[in-house]
Amino acid sequence: MKLVASGLLLAALALAWTIPSSWAADNDIVVGFAIAQSGWMSENDGPPSQGALMAIDDINAKGGLLGRKIRPVFADTKSDQTQGAEAGESVLAQGAKLMIVSCDYDMGAGAATVGNDHKIPTFSLCASDAKMGVQGIGPYAFTIANASLTIGATLAQWGVVKKGWKNAYLLLDDTIEYNKGICSGFETQWKRAGGTIVGQDSFKQDDASIASQVTNMQQTNANSKIDFIMICSHGAGDVSAVRQIRSAGIETPIGGGDSMDGDFWTKAVPHLNDHYASTLGSPFGDDPRPFVNQFMDRMAKADGHRPPTSLAISGYSVVQALALAVQRANSLDGDAVLAQLNKFHDENLAIGPTTFTPDLHINLTRPQAILGIRDGKGYFVDLVQLPAPPPLKLIFKHQD
């Protein structure tokens, strides 16, 4: 009996040994996607990871990277923060040498920490929090996105300089850090550019009604006319706030962050006009950058309908960034790739010029597209670059 048991054990060990060695013999470069493939977060991770897969196909079609084929492997975080680390371990076990994690700091941190601990260069698909980098996760973690501060600040820059607006009103949904970052970037830049914040108020994503906030806003407007209402929120809370403000008869221009990209949400606000969002690019086919339009066309062809937002382009850029660094390092060694990523200076990626330094693994001044809404339909308005990055003390306010 004992003999049989030890025989079985040996067989199991042999089997366990042969599986990784057969993978090791495989010459592919494995990129691990530790992302949400199910649950609420999958809507956010889906389009950018689709963009990433498109970039992998493009590179493979041109002969691969370092002469080797790139092969994606996946692990599902199930939109559960506690499953992040496990998903990270899972893609490493499948042989990943480069890692891609969820489009959000909180949701991606678990897997990114695993990547960082194993010295695997790891990118978040689009987290806009600087903590997804050296100061939060560690030296091997990056995010391709602009900081949330930049998202808010570019809209402020455009509003004051291009539109000549003076008086802004801030409406902050203080449930998550992303929203606070947008408002603090907006407020700083609005004042820097010469505008005034005439009032502010807060609400919560889940508030059943923001009627009292609307009343406060109207009282402010009676004293000093508001030129621009900046709503720092996301998702359903943001859309609902826009609806409730417009329902009250307030037709003042309204701004929002990149969660208001696209125009699929405007059904909630009949005949909406004068809404402006700061985001990556236009999904409507009217972006002045030809590559963005070609990219959206390809996505439309693959899906059978136009992409609802432009956010998929961030995933494409993540793979571009990793491939560029690997090529320059001529190696998959984590430290060698990291050294190349840290030298990135205005690299021409799909998402726009991209810069990293050993201390900063997020972009602060890459141009943002401003999208407008006219009678419920979205259109490209402008491409705006900040004259100077937001103050460092705002970026790392939690390390003060």
Binding site: S212, T215, V239, A248, W265, V269, P308
Partner: protein, 304 residues
């Protein structure tokens, strides 16, 4: 003065939504001692039933395009049927179980329904523009009143009167009241448990359907957890109103609504982010003064 009346209208309409939700929760608690957290998901499903089932982010109206009365009847029928189905499949097999076990079961039903919604509709918020005329505002003597606010307040008053009449005058209503006093004794006296409980779920579902229609017009956008925040507030409302009391649920709902608007208005900006801490601090104060809630329900009291 105008500002005061404006805030009063805001508070009344928010309180009405909480009160309507609290009624649905309180009724079930009164009879079954069930704290039904899945009530919020019934509200959510009422809203999703308005659109064509699809994961496409562009929502296409379905039942929401029907004539107003047809839409109301269809949504009420769907949500009531679902409420009864939940009772038959999830809660009936657990009848007589400890209230805390029932509550855990309601969480399970809630998670199941939410994930089913994500599977069918996706998790991206959907824009739903139901009855846009209701979302418009009218100005009465300088006070901006949204038609929806008026409709919400009137609906709440009408339904509260209707429910009270139903409980006092109809045979099933009387049986429900008897069951909520003492379920065991009521059964000995010939009250049919299945009928009474099914009726309670049906009425609770009806209230959920009404809330979902009003709330959709208010928010204009729906997500898989659309009804959850309402249920959290309404649950607190039923506790301070007095668990199991119909009038208490309504009073509690209005009290939470008023507290929300009051603190949103009077707190300085630096503290406004912590509004909920003040609202729920106030709730704790109320409970310290009246631990059994505003309206005491004898059958819920511990007999010492």
């Amino acid at each position: 003065m105008q500002g005061f009346i404006q805030h009063l209208a805001d508070a009344l309409s928010l309180g009405s939504l909480f009160a309507l939700t609290a009624l649905g929760i309180s009724l079930l608690f009164g009879i079954m001692r069930l704290v039904n957290f899945a009530h919020g998901d019934l509200i959510t499903i009422g809203a999703y039933a308005l659109i064509v089932p699809s994961s496409n982010p562009n929502a296409v109206m379905f039942i929401g395009l029907w004539p107003v009365l047809d839409t109301i009847i269809a949504i009420c029928a769907i949500v009531v049927a679902l409420a009864i189905l939940c009772e038959r499949l999830a809660f009936k097999p657990m009848r007589g179980a400890n209230p805390s076990v029932l509550m855990i079961a309601s969480f399970a039903v809630s998670y199941f329904l939410q994930n089913a919604l994500i599977m069918i509709y996706g998790s991206r918020p959907k824009g739903v523009n139901l009855w846009p005329a209701l979302a418009q505002s009218v100005s009465v003597g300088g006070v901006r009143l949204q038609l929806l606010q008026i409709v919400t307040i009137v609906t709440t008053l009408v339904l509260l009167c209707g429910l009270t009449l139903f409980l006092r005058r109809s045979a099933i209503g009387r049986q429900m009241r008897a069951a909520s006093e003492n379920f065991m004794m009521a059964r000995f006296l010939g009250v049919r448990a299945n009928l009474v409980i099914a009726a309670a779920f049906a009425i609770s579902g009806f209230f959920a359907a009404v809330v979902s229609l009003l709330y959709v017009v208010q928010r204009g956008t729906i997500t898989y957890d659309f009804g959850v925040p309402l249920v959290m507030a309404a649950f607190v409302a039923t506790v301070i109103g007095g668990m199991g009391s119909v009038l208490g649920a309504v009073l509690g709902g209005f009290l939470v609504g008023f507290a929300n608007v009051f603190f949103q208005v009077v707190l300085p900006m630096s503290l406004r982010g912590d509004r909920d801490a003040f609202v729920y601090g106030f709730v704790i104060l109320v409970l310290l003064v009246r631990p059994a809630g505003l309206i005491k329900v004898k059958s819920v009291q511990e007999r010492v």
